[in-house]
């Protein structure tokens, strides 16, 4: 994805993922096979569950459901799309790059695809939590697996 995306295009990407999220639904298959993390916040209305199906150190499926604002819906939706099919090390690397971007550190934009539309989040500090709520849930699941395998 070119880094020279115009604000207009970035806005459109966020709105598309907010209005027509592809991964905002409960797991279609057997829910019990999914890892799930419930995320909510005292500071805002967001209240979502992130579901991840893992097998052989790989993210097989990811989706989420609940109540969330534009930024958290779009960022979590984009995240799910990015993660499906990735190995754990790949997934962890992407999460790390995303967090670096959000916190205005050096990051590798090549692996973030559409998620780079959140590059300006730090300018609206109150929204950092919205842009990371789904990603934090995923990270928790990845960490959990990492420990189990040790």
């Amino acid at each position: 994805m070119p880094i020279s995306l115009s604000p207009m295009m970035m806005r459109q990407i966020i709105m598309d993922h907010y209005e027509n999220p592809q991964y905002k639904h409960a797991p279609i298959g057997d829910v019990s096979k999914y890892e799930q993390v419930h995320m909510d916040s005292a500071n805002c209305i967001d209240d979502i569950i992130v579901y991840v199906l893992v097998k052989d150190n790989k993210v097989i499926d990811a989706c989420f459901d609940g109540v969330a604002c534009t930024i958290s819906t779009a960022s979590t939706d984009i995240m799910c799309g990015l993660m499906i099919g990735k190995t754990f090390p790949e997934a962890k690397y992407i999460v790390e790059q995303y967090n670096n971007m959000i916190h205005e550190k050096e990051y590798n934009p090549d692996v973030l695809d559409e998620a780079i539309v959140f590059m300006n989040t730090a300018k609206q500090a109150a929204r950092i939590h919205c842009a990371t709520i789904g990603w934090d849930a995923l990270e928790e699941i990845l960490e959990h697996h990492h420990h189990e395998e040790k």
Binding site: P7, N43, I45, N120
Partner: protein
């Protein structure tokens, strides 16, 4: 008449020309907290620079001075709400005041057959302390149905039963801004043999309150919502009820004696509720705030806010796709949404224009049962709000372009 522009000279948050997102700050979150005038800051500073010492049993002049001063502040606050001096307890805010009533009075007097009445529009601080009472005593919690957002004496009457011991409601809802007819409600509550505990956080700063005329049993309010320091608050209780309330905190300054046989004799109210060193600088600041408000006049503040509310409503109604949830309310709290825009997204957009409003559930997490909305945006005014503040909000809502622009500014 109050000249809001002139009055701003009393407030460092205006005199310092505070900016937000490179715009002059437009502060419309006064239901959350308020700005402090220089007079309040001076009073706090005075304690720290001229009168530092503790209260209680002072053997030296400074301490004696503070004991006297504390009594004076209590008197000032008592006069402000037409209470007697010994009916005013200093707390750290509305939340602590309500918890004192719940834990100190309700858990002592209620049992599993009793009922406490609340409404779905109450703030967390007027719900969770009562839930705690229910968990401890087994008493039941019931909800008075709202009538177009209001708590009416008729609906209170209908919900009261012979088991009702306490009715705990806000004088003014922090989301809907309706001013409940506490005098009429107190009357039906008392006729049923129950007591009324009023959350005054959103009323005491904005209108003249006379606890005797309203016949309120307990009234809780915060200093910081009325130009006073954070960490200050008041619990008013009728003398007899305070006497029947147990202290929740034990410590210095609230007991007469205690001994190894686990015996203790407490001081009488209000001292028995004020264990430990009080937030003295804050309390002196609170006195300055009360005097400041008194000088402006609570009646003047009420009239001014009503006029600003009318103006704000008439302007907000011109904004396309704006849904206002409490057009007919009295207090300076206006709650709205823009169709198709999530409340928090709208609030962030307004932040990018330097406008401070609040989004979400505003701590009234059961109100969605009434509003059928998950989240709303709330603007709230005070006597230093100007017409320009409201115009800035309306302009931002009207001419904002896309609400996500904030994200790419």
């Amino acid at each position: 008449m109050i000249d809001s522009k002139k009055i701003r000279k009393d407030f460092p948050m205006y005199e310092n020309h505070i900016k937000m997102q490179k715009h002059d700050l437009v502060y419309l979150d006064n239901a959350s907290t308020t700005f402090k005038p220089y007079a309040v800051l001076r009073a706090e500073e005075e304690y720290n620079t001229r009168f530092t010492s503790n209260t209680h049993r002072g053997d030296y002049d400074l301490c004696f001075f503070n004991d006297t001063k504390l009594a004076e502040v209590r008197h000032t606050v008592a006069e402000f709400i037409n209470a007697n001096d010994d009916e005013v307890v200093f707390t750290n805010g509305t939340t602590m005041s309500i918890n004192l009533v719940a834990l100190g009075y309700a858990t002592k007097h209620l049992n599993k057959d009793d009922e406490i009445l609340l409404t779905v529009s109450e703030h967390a601080s007027n719900v969770l302390p009562w839930y705690k009472v229910s968990q401890i005593t087994g008493c039941k919690i019931k909800f008075i149905p709202l009538e177009n957002g209001r708590v009416t004496p008729e609906n209170v009457q209908k919900t009261l039963s012979k088991h009702t011991k306490i009715v705990a409601i806000a004088h003014v809802s922090n989301v809907l801004g309706y001013v409940n007819d506490i005098k009429a409600i107190a009357k039906v509550v008392h006729e049923a043999g129950a007591i009324i505990a009023v959350d005054g956080a959103q009323s005491v700063p904005h209108m003249k309150i006379d606890v005797k005329d309203l016949d309120i049993d307990f009234l809780s309010f915060s200093g910081h919502k009325m130009c006073g320091p954070t960490g200050t608050g008041v619990l008013y209780g009728k003398a007899k009820l305070l006497e029947e309330t147990d202290p929740v905190f034990g410590g210095g300054g609230m007991n007469v004696k205690f001994d190894t046989d686990v015996s203790v004799k407490y001081l009488s109210a209000p001292a028995k509720f004020e264990a430990g060193t009080l937030h003295l600088e804050g309390i002196y600041g609170l006195e300055a705030a009360v005097k400041y408000l008194d000088e402006i006049g609570m009646e003047n503040i009420e009239v001014l806010e009503k006029n600003f509310r009318k103006y704000a409503i008439s302007e907000l109604k011109k904004v396309p796709d704006l849904v206002i949830y409490n057009e007919d309310a009295e207090a300076g709290i206006i709650t709205f949404n823009k169709k198709g825009v999530f409340a928090q997204d709208l609030a962030t957009y307004l932040n990018s224009k330097g406008i401070a409003v609040r989004s979400g559930q505003h701590c009234a997490k059961m109100l969605h049962h009434y509003l059928n909305e998950i989240a709303t945006v709330r603007m709230s005014i005070y006597f230093y709000t100007t017409k320009e503040d409201i115009d800035a909000l309306v302009n931002a809502l009207k001419n904002g372009g896309h609400f996500l622009d904030a994200y790419f500014a």
